[in-house]
């Protein structure tokens, strides 16, 4: 399940909805990861562009990997502006077993950072500035150079 929202995420509601949706699925472990906008470098917030077709196929591959381990993965992300101390990202894994869940959320979040087609901008003094130095080239980049 992949949900995109305009602006900040309603974290308590999403965590509750996901928990309740899987309440009878007999998973022993539920691990959400929540990403919140930190105050640093004088930013007022962050802003996000998402390329949805590739995000969806990337996510589908992870759903398949989760299924192979008997687990389920869910993700929510913001489009557009998210201000300081608001949250822009939740990923969560449900699994029968705690080891699977702990390892899966780590792998998922790291691959998300490296591969998900989402671009981040700092909001600063009314400008929207691409966060180039914090961004990662997708694996296989550079073939046109």
């Amino acid at each position: 399940m992949l949900s995109l929202y305009n602006g900040a995420l309603d974290v308590p509601k999403i965590l509750k909805d996901w928990y309740e949706a899987e309440a009878k699925s007999n998973y022993g472990a539920y691990i959400p990861f929540v990403g919140t906008v930190r105050s640093e470098d004088g930013i007022d917030g962050l802003s996000f562009d998402i390329y949805e077709p590739i995000l969806e196929s990337w996510f589908k591959d992870w759903q398949k990997k989760a299924k192979e381990k008997g687990a389920v993965i869910k993700m929510a992300h913001s489009r557009g502006d998210v201000m300081l101390h608001e949250s822009s990202y939740i990923a969560a894994v449900f699994s029968p077993k705690r080891r699977v869940a702990l390892e899966f959320i780590d792998e998922f979040v790291e691959d998300f950072k490296a591969s998900a087609p989402i671009w981040k901008y700092d909001l600063k003094n009314g400008q929207r500035i691409y966060a180039k130095e914090r961004s990662t080239a997708i694996k296989g980049s550079g073939i046109l150079a």
Binding site: G35, I118, A137
Partner: protein
């Protein structure tokens, strides 16, 4: 006609090109000064599937996307 689109922070209008393969796209973009800073670190998708080599035939209606470095979360 093949469409080339530039995602995220790349400030460039989409192109419509009469081409047969990705080598031609590379040749055209390498001549574009505004694209120089991007080509080194852009990934390429053909019809929304990432490709890792230029050995890819193109046909009329195909869509090529350039994906600069990402940072979700």
């Amino acid at each position: 006609m093949v469409k080339v689109e530039f995602l995220g922070p790349i400030q460039k209008e989409a192109l419509e090109l009469e081409i047969d393969n990705l080598n031609e796209v590379a040749a055209i973009l390498q001549k574009d000064d505004a694209m120089k800073e991007w080509l080194d670190n852009c990934a390429v998708a053909v019809n929304d599937t990432l490709v890792t080599s230029l050995e890819c035939a193109l046909k009329d209606g195909d869509k090529i996307s350039l994906l600069p470095p990402v940072c979700g979360g």
